[in-house]
Symmetry: none
Subunit: 249 residues, 2 copies
DNA sequence: CATAATGTCGCAAAATGTTGCAAAAAGACG
DNA sequence: CGTCTTTTTGCAACATTTTGCGACATTATG
């Protein structure tokens, strides 16, 4: 990878995540951390990034604009996104729901990954379609203003006609008794059919959603193949879920 | 391989991959790296590539280009967008194509306007869905990376099933003899059915697209109800079009 | 304050660039 | 056709840039 190209990549990552870690960049681009540091130094010198111990921050951090467009719990969601990405193999067809965790996943997809992503989430589609090697298929229908995903009979019918390799759901609530639940009826309907249309189902949830529930039922825990949180799979808060046979990551 | 031929090949590779390595090119074309370097130097001097240590990058890497998100001919497009908006009445159902002119339109929609917009253009959908009073319906299908709109049989079938009040098309080329034409086959198919599915058709074009044509035929001028350019409707460059019965705005 | 993670510095190896030059190729012209 | 000029190309010597490594300093964190 050329130096200029690398720096452009770093800037791109900075725009997406507002922060980069030297360690992770060095892994991703496959150069030594020294090189990354020198790049960050140059970017900092030319005023395009703010260098800090361990990596760099986007310029938006320098300003006192704490009007943060930061998604709540962003770090946790990045951890979850990385774990989820490890399940996606070359040339898979992946169906994804909406939500900020999914957006984080979309932003974090490695450049080299070749796959097909199907979604009705506008922000996710945007990220997918910026990716050089990913084919994107859009589920059409009316956009729900709250969730910024397409909902309705057409969307449901379309999803029903699919049978994809992997379904990745950002979920709102789960507990042992009720399984996976949600607060939005339309979204719940969609998630139900998404689960039916997939070989394997991955549920993404930050730990604070564990042991909570919402009024609308989506599915029991046994319909989920993988549960991903930011916690270590051996964490005691997940002990009950381990017994249900869901694979924790 | 001749010099000219070689440079054309290099540019082609640049467009394809956004980067070239001197080493690879020298292998591929079977000339010394010196020669490649001289070629890259010339391409850089004439502003067709960005030379960096180890090879060259496509112009899209240039900071300048990225920094100003200036769309080409932005001012003209804003004028066109304003004129087009004047045709949209309360509670209309509007079908729009893709393209930068349409994006400008989407950005410029007045806050109070209540209407339903149907589109397969990702950037346009994004703008529409930010709007407080607009219902958005997404045409689903596979995303074409070039044009960032959904294309394919599903999209066409969906559009065929509609009958909307207004269709607003950003167009690539029009002249008296060929009518409206385009360079992308898939996009042209979509535009054809969009025209059929609408009561009234509006064509948007900056003046430099007037009296030009592209290989793929979309429709004759008589299928268009309104033609909007940044020019005054009485401008002499539009005189011929006036006679065809198209309403100029 | 101890420990691990990160950063800095100088250095050397490898890759890439530059320059001047001469041979080959192509073109110009009587 | 032969001679001259110009352009193009590759080579060799030398300069520069880039990169990773190791020794040592600094910072973060519990």
């Amino acid at each position: 990878m050329l130096k200029r190209e690398r720096q452009a990549y770093i800037l791109h990552q900075l725009n997406l995540h507002n922060k980069v870690l030297s360690s992770r960049l060095s892994e991703a681009i496959n150069v030594s951390e020294d090189t990354i540091r020198r790049d960050l130094q140059e970017l900092a010198d030319s005023g395009r990034a703010i260098k800090v111990h361990g990596g760099a921050l986007s310029l938006s951090f320098s300003e006192f604009n704490i009007h943060n467009n930061n998604v709540y719990g962003k770090d946790e969601k990045q951890i979850i996104a990385r774990k989820a990405i490890s399940l996606i193999k070359e040339n898979m067809v992946v169906l994804t729901s909406g939500g900020t965790t999914i957006n984080e996943l979309a932003r974090s997809l490695p450049r080299e990954l070749k796959a097909t992503f199907i979604s009705g989430s506008i922000p996710a589609i945007l990220e997918y379609s910026n990716h050089p090697n990913i084919d994107v298929i859009v589920i059409g229908d009316k956009i729900s203003k709250n969730s910024r995903i397409t909902i309705g009979a057409d969307a449901i019918a379309k999803i029903k006609s699919l049978k994809v390799d992997l379904c990745i759901l950002g979920i709102n609530a789960l507990d042992i008794e009720h399984g996976i639940t949600d607060s939005d009826w339309d979204v719940a309907q969609l998630k139900k059919v998404m689960i039916e249309s997939s070989q394997k189902v991955v549920a993404l949830a930050i730990s604070e959603k564990i042991d909570t529930y919402q009024p609308i039922h989506i599915c029991p825990l046994r319909n989920i193949d993988y549960l991903i949180t930011e916690l270590n799979p051996d964490d005691e808060r997940l002990a009950f879920y381990k017994k249900t046979g869901v694979q924790l990551i």
